[in-house]
Subunit: 125 residues, 2 copies
């Protein structure tokens, strides 16, 4: 990355839902943006924490064995490793995500929306 990037602008420019794209890397971590709407799928990452930060809109995280978390615009939350979660966006929502590079998109579950790392590393608009 040679120049500054705006996650909010890059997320807004995405055309596909639930298809995260890498905007920055540091150490063994990727910073990604995503545009989401609707419900993804229950999944867990056994070995990786996952940070959700709402750039625009609202996100609900249904969590296994604990109360759901409602994230408003500008709020962040870390889903600890091993905790099953279901991201739900009642309306279009733009996210910034921080994850270890090894983190698979939909964790232990594979669905039509599951994106490979190669997909997530495609150049941004």
């Amino acid at each position: 990355m040679d120049a500054p990037r705006s996650p909010a602008r890059l997320a807004a420019a995405l055309t596909e839902r639930w298809s995260p794209r890498v905007v920055a890397e540091l150490e063994d971590v990727y910073v990604k943006v995503a545009k989401v709407e609707g419900t993804l799928v229950w999944h867990r990452h056994d070995d990786e924490d996952e940070l959700f930060y709402v750039l625009k809109g609202r996100l609900r995280l249904e969590l296994e064995d604990r109360a759901a978390v409602a994230l408003g615009e500008g709020e962040l939350f870390v889903v600890p490793k091993g905790v099953g979660h279901l991201p739900v966006a009642e309306a279009e929502c733009h996210l910034l995500l921080i994850e270890r590079k090894t983190t698979r998109h939909t964790g232990d579950t594979t669905i039509a929306q599951t994106r490979s790392l190669a997909d997530q590393l495609r150049p941004l608009p």
Copy 2:
């Protein structure tokens, strides 16, 4: 972290300048907020990348051996490990930082504003 947190609100509530505070952790990484104004000090982190994300205002990063980078509101930039840098804020600026937990505040340099990790881990308002 049991509840969502708003980095922008937490950064705005800080009273001390150049005194980062941890708002989230995942894996070996801390996410911090800081309120800055003026000039910090030239320093480098030999082994750690450092991500700067401007929540409010503007930040200039003077960089060793390369052109300075001007970050506007909502923009992020990663200073690669080993690259000397000088953060400059002409006016009050609120930042979100992503760093490895081992990263020392002012890197290889110690000044009056240098903050210990214990300082950075104090409970937030």
